[in-house]
Symmetry: C2
Subunit: 218 residues, 2 copies
Amino acid sequence: MSDESFASSERTRLRRLPKRGHYDRRTIYQILDAGFVCHIGYVIDGRPYVTPTSYWRHGDKVYWHGSHASRMLAEVTDAPVCLTVTHVDALVLARSGFHSSINYRSAMLFGTARKLDGEADKLRALEAFAEHLYRGRWRELRPPTRQELLATTVVEMQIEEASAKIRTGPPADDDTDYALPIWAGIVPLSLTRGTPQDDGRLAAGVEVPGYLREGETG
Amino acid sequence: MSDESFASSERTRLRRLPKRGHYDRRTIYQILDAGFVCHIGYVIDGRPYVTPTSYWRHGDKVYWHGSHASRMLAEVTDAPVCLTVTHVDALVLARSGFHSSINYRSAMLFGTARKLDGEADKLRALEAFAEHLYRGRWRELRPPTRQELLATTVVEMQIEEASAKIRTGPPADDDTDYALPIWAGIVPLSLTRGTPQDDGRLAAGVEVPGYLREGETG
């Protein structure tokens, strides 16, 4: 992983609270790799649309996929896209509403999406996605059929510009407010994986695989 | 809460998997009220931007806020906006990659944002936000100063069009795949609130308030 920074531009430079801004690949990729659901922004007839979808990263490219009938995938192809990933880490309860906040890590990427054409490229990308969610699962699955690959659109976006915004730590109250009899601090938040629930139709002898016996994500 | 539906239009009608689409206020408001972080889509010079921010709903309006110096708030004022809220409920592990999915609830709203001008309107809106996060906390806080209200922009968006997308339940595998020796089912996901951590600067005798001794959100 490179520490090199993405070029800063008018589009990505944080004007307000610049100390929360980050432009280095390491920070941005860590935020991307910690998640699997992003929000894709695109424009139709001059109006904004935001669609949630799963995504994954490989090198300096991000990927997402869906049905070849998806309107979002049709609209983003060869068009400018903003892809945003957000992790909510804590509620920050200050002694005033004004200083109350949220601890979070978010990455905002800009680029142009393009469709993957070749079957082999698609297969490689889908395997990377499955492995991102659960390392080891892909090779257990029934492999994709030719029909399924044809029905699946995978888009790839080279990250042209990117920035991250991060807030951590306790509230920052006004000096005179610390004397007030008000509880202040943070309430940690995390996206927790619960106990796997099989679908009640497992073939005889199938056990919960090892990669499902873990803790947290996000 | 009304069961009346938002008008369906080309913009919000689900073309693919129409059974996942919902247009009634009850469903959409439940999704909105279960969350507090959304993704705001807007357009600058024909290009899409997606910014995460906290939000809250009152009636058929949604609100968000920030510094009067925020670029996002300046850009969305009197402009078309898409506001999307997404809750990720489970990973859906099918016996093939093709049928693997995510259980989620998302709401996509369209409207035009406008700034709240009056101090009283702003105060009421900020109170609603605090109470949405923790009922009872607002009246404990040091009240906003005139200066803080001036420095805070609150925007209000009448929901003009809206749709929800929901996926629930186990994977839907191909009939012939159920015989395969592959684990399939769901892994529940939830945004969990952890133990509150005070900031180490509490005034003498301040205890954790009752509204912080709860369970889950999201």
